[in-house]
């Protein structure tokens, strides 16, 4: 009869209400309390927004344009070159929109990205009204039109950085996603079934741990006829799952003995359902930590590969590639080192801080220290 609103509850009841929150909700509350973790999460969120909006931030193709009575989105070509409508090829735009849109259709209109710069090529004089051609070599210091300067070939570094965000995030999420799927499945099977399956899978984990990822990627990039960034992601994913698998195995070994599993088994629940619905949700929290660290490691690895000249095929606006361009200029073009260096540092730091925060907010042993 005392159905009052929560604020009218006595302190002890409020505390009970908090305790009744689910594990993940509780973890989220604790995560939010960690300022560094939350700031890092916001930073990664910001990067995701930049990556998604990159064609609208920097580019030379209209975000949207009306041409000959139809609406087009040429900037989508920055995601996939085949998404650029062939009408512009047929009408001989030569990928120079400002020059040809009005000339071919006086009634046309277009909304261009915030910064008229291209991540793949040098913007020349006259392409955009009032904007000079991009400088090259040592003349490419940051200026009004090239906020982060230009590369030796005159490509705008800001545009490269913005579009490079896409690569940094993709490589992190996809490679770690692959690693997580493999690692969780292998770890779950090994931990749940034990016996010879565990022996076999544990040996497999040890063998994969012995494979030097960098050398494997270098070999693969040399062998593959048409190497792409996806190949790097696949190799990083296919070799980076061992830590996740070991942790998952440990968690499954622990939870298999728990009463709720025994109960589920007694009710006749199938093995897959027990593993998927009962154990996995309970085992997932510790696994999130290596996933967060894995994303950071993957970004660092891609940057390292691009830095060494073995990254995605050129022209590739990844942060590591820009950093490499700075190295070949013998540090004279400092802006090629500074901006991508800061971006890589902050992103890797952010993921590591997120990982730490996840660990602190999901590990009961660390909870006291967070208060």
């Amino acid at each position: 009869m005392t159905q009052s609103n929560p604020s009218s509850k006595p302190p002890s009841q409020a505390s009970d209400a908090t305790a009744s929150r689910g594990f993940w909700a509780e973890a989220w509350v604790r995560f939010r309390r960690r300022k560094l973790g939350m700031t890092s999460l916001c930073f990664v969120g910001l990067l995701a927004v930049i990556a998604i909006l990159s064609p609208a931030i920097a580019g030379t193709k209209p975000i949207v344009c009306r041409y000959k009575g139809s609406l087009y989105f040429p900037a989508m070509a920055y995601f996939n070159s085949r998404w650029e409508n062939p009408i512009f090829y047929r009408d001989k735009f030569y990928k120079r929109y400002p020059e040809h849109l009005k000339e071919k259709d006086p009634d046309s209109w277009a909304i261009y990205p915030l910064v008229f710069q291209d991540p793949y090529r040098r913007v020349k004089e006259g392409e955009w009204e009032g904007q000079p051609g991009n400088p090259t070599g040592a003349d490419g210091v940051p200026n009004r039109h090239n906020w982060f300067g230009t590369t030796q070939a005159g490509v705008d570094v800001f545009a490269q950085m913005v579009h490079g965000t896409k690569i940094a995030l993709l490589i992190g999420f996809i490679s770690t996603g692959i690693a997580a799927v493999i690692g969780i499945i292998v770890g779950a099977l090994a931990g749940y079934f034990q016996g010879w399956i565990d022996i076999l899978l544990s040996r497999l984990i040890e063998v994969v741990m012995c494979i030097p990822t960098l050398i494997l990627i270098l070999a693969l990039m040399a062998i593959v006829e048409d190497p792409k960034i996806w190949h790097i992601m696949a190799v990083l994913g296919a070799t980076g799952w061992t830590g996740i698998a070991r942790l998952t195995r440990g968690e499954f070994l622990k939870h298999k003995q728990a009463e709720f599993v025994t109960g589920a088994r007694a009710l006749g629940t199938g093995r897959v359902r027990i593993m998927w619905r009962h154990i996995l949700p309970n085992a997932l929290a510790p696994v999130l930590v290596p996933i967060a660290f894995g994303i950071a490691a993957a970004i660092l690895m891609e940057s390292a590969l691009s830095f060494l000249g073995f990254g995605a095929p050129p022209p590739n606006p990844s942060w590591g590639t820009t950093l490499n361009a700075g190295r070949t200029s013998n540090l004279q073009n400092w802006w090629l080192i500074l901006f991508p260096g800061i971006a890589i540092f902050l992103t890797v730091l952010a993921y590591n801080l997120i990982g730490e925060a996840v660990q602190a907010s999901t590990d009961p042993r660390l909870r006291e220290g967070t208060k």
Partner: protein, 635 residues
């Protein structure tokens, strides 16, 4: 059994990584018997007396290249003293001329040379083999030039002569069919055995053996009918026919007979057996320097051979200036520049960017100076004419028109290079009197040519395609390029230019030796590369004649084949020049390459170095070339 089960994944993985073990293989190669010199037609040489009786001999020059250079320098006006040259910054053609003149000074007396000096040179890639027969890259030329022994040489004008270091006399028959050489008897290999005429005959036979794969050296040598050693030091070259190129044809690399005469039968490749690997690591050489240390991917150390210039306690040849020559392998040019600035290396070829922007400060001029000289080295996009995309001449021409040459020259090459309009440099006597105009960008023309050739966007996807064998093939190809940023940038520009006209070009940076192998095997669609110049226009015969060894793009034009045949038979210099000029224009019309630019030689040198002189082959690879460089004794 269960105990070993856990090893199964390991076994499966190792099988996947290493391939099937040999017992799974049933295609073991059957070893073909080896016949030394099986490509040489049978010939019975006359006795020397018979030959002398029937042939009218004409004496030919036997020269010392150092003496030649000294003579040349005497007539040269000195534009600056050493001190003035060292104080100058190379910021104008005038300053360059002064520095080259002031520091190009030769040693006037033995007393001013530091005979214990060493020099550390830069090479951009490792030497694949130390065997001079396999010479291919610039680094291999550099090493072989110092360790190899030869009978002939050429100066900075590419005039041939027999080398005084190895030859006593050289006579040619009036009809041009025979050359008689008398070798010096004070030449030894680095293992102490004498260098004899039999070594030259043996080397010739090795080159002319079917199972010995040395296409670059074979070209030219195959024009020799026979070489007969009448004694240890007297040789006669029998030519198939009188050719202008006969002297150049006789100038092939020489290997020691006593080292290879037995082992070649076990391993005709000269590279695979343990013995040959060992010989490659520690070669027996006949030149001025011997290889004393080789760390793969890191350095090669050469040491002056006393037995080169001393014989029976007497000095018989000029003593090489450096005691030690160290070649440091630094693949990254920016690292090499740092090494030059910190004196870890003492010379290097600078990139345009380095010349323009990274070598103007006190940090560079503290220990170094820089000079440039005109060089006949050109760079190109090479098209594989056997691939569907590039069989049609119009497509190759379209590539030339589609590419933004001006952007490349002014922005990517920093305005330091001249446009290339064909195989011969305009300052060469082989260049046409009215050379073709270098390609400039004309996108409309490029599109029209592609349309004419049938490469049209049939399926309206924005990519050109062509119906081949009933299927539409999109115009999508890969260009191979070495892993240098300045070269990758040029290919990226091509990619961007072609994307504007509906062609997809993928740029694939490739490790240098892999790139070489793929080129030799014709396993490429397009490539970016460069060629230096030979001493005779006929040296490019194996680049352009149908089926020749370095014709990587498998270009074929019967007219060009015929012209090369005519060129080597034409003794009238003017008529000969006209033939090669015609080859130049025909090739430029056919565009098997899109010629891009001639690269001059831009070098950074340590301030202690003296005596360099630039030639169209750079400052080293001619007579005396590097051998003229010295360091003054410290005062």
């Amino acid at each position: 059994m269960r105990r070993f089960l856990h090893l199964l994944p390991l076994a499966v993985l190792s099988l996947a990584l290493t391939g099937c073990p040999s017992w799974f293989s049933d295609d073991e190669e059957e070893k073909e018997p080896f016949f030394l010199g099986d490509l040489i037609e049978e010939f019975s040489p006359p006795t020397l007396e018979e030959l002398d009786a029937k042939v009218e001999w004409v004496e030919k020059p036997v020269l010392d290249s150092m003496e030649l250079l000294r003579e040349f320098k005497k007539g040269e006006t000195v534009l600056a003293t050493e001190e003035e040259a060292l104080a100058l910054a190379n910021d104008s053609p005038q300053a360059n001329a002064k520095i080259v003149s002031g520091l190009g000074r030769l040693a006037e007396s033995d007393g001013e040379v530091d005979w214990n000096a060493s020099i550390t040179r830069h090479i951009g890639g490792d030497v694949k083999s130390t065997n001079p027969l396999f010479i291919s890259s610039t680094a291999e030329f550099d090493v072989a030039g110092l360790t190899g022994v030869g009978l002939f040489g050429f100066d900075w004008n590419f005039d041939n002569f027999a080398s005084k270091d190895t030859v006593i006399s050289w006579h040619s028959s009036k009809d041009g069919l025979y050359d008689k050489i008398v070798m010096r008897d004070d030449l030894t290999w680095s293992d102490g055995k004498p260098v004899t005429a039999h070594d030259i005959v043996f080397s010739f036979k090795v080159i002319m053996s079917n199972q010995v794969s040395v296409p670059a050296v074979k070209s030219g040598t195959e024009e020799i009918r026979w070489i007969e050693a009448y004694d240890d030091h007297t040789l006669v070259f029998f030519h198939k026919e009188p050719l202008v190129t006969n002297t150049a044809n006789m100038n092939f690399p020489i290997i020691p007979k006593h080292v290879y005469e037995e082992s070649i039968y076990d391993d005709p490749s000269l590279t695979k057996s343990a013995y040959h690997e060992q010989r490659d690591e520690h070669p027996v050489v006949g030149g001025t320097y011997t290889i004393t240390k080789r760390e793969r991917g890191s350095q090669i150390v050469l040491t002056r051979r006393e037995s080169w210039y001393m014989h029976d306690g007497k000095q018989v040849r000029e003593k090489p200036y450096f005691k030690i020559i160290r070649f440091r392998v630094i693949t990254d040019s920016s690292v090499a520049l740092l090494a030059l600035k910190s004196r870890d290396i003492e010379e290097m070829l600078l990139t345009p960017e380095q010349w323009r922007t990274q070598t103007n400060g006190a940090d560079f001029y503290k220990n170094n100076t820089k000079e440039y000289g005109l060089e006949w080295t050109y760079f190109y996009f090479g098209w594989n004419t056997k691939k569907v995309y590039f069989t049609d001449k119009r497509v190759r021409q379209a590539m030339g028109y589609a590419f933004d040459h001006e952007e490349m020259l002014s922005k990517l090459r920093y305005g330091l290079d001249v446009p290339c309009n064909g195989i011969y440099h305009k300052t060469s006597k082989w260049s046409p009197k009215n050379p073709p105009k270098a390609y400039t960008r004309d996108i409309t023309k490029a599109e029209a040519l592609l349309d004419d050739a049938g490469w049209i966007d049939h399926d309206n996807d924005g990519i050109r395609d062509k119906e081949i064998d009933g299927k539409y093939v999109p115009f999508e190809f890969t260009i191979l390029v070495s892993q240098r940023q300045d070269r990758i940038d040029i290919c990226a520009l091509l990619k961007e230019n072609l994307s504007q006209i509906g062609i997809i070009c993928k740029v694939k940076p490739t490790e240098f030796t892999v790139l070489q192998q793929l080129s030799r095997d014709h396993k490429f669609q397009a490539m970016f590369a460069g060629w230096g110049t030979g001493t005779d226009p006929d040296t490019s015969v194996n680049l352009w004649v149908t089926g020749k060894g370095r014709n990587y793009g498998e270009y074929s034009n019967a007219e060009v084949d015929k012209l090369f045949e005519q060129g080597k038979r034409e003794f009238d210099p003017e008529k000969r020049a006209a033939i090669y000029a015609k080859i130049h224009t025909t090739l430029y019309e056919d565009q098997p390459y899109t010629w891009l630019f001639f690269r001059n030689g831009y070098y950074g040198f340590n301030k202690r170095l003296r005596g360099y002189k630039f030639s169209p082959r750079g400052p080293y690879n001619y007579g005396p070339g590097f051998n003229a460089i010295w360091k003054p004794a410290m005062k």
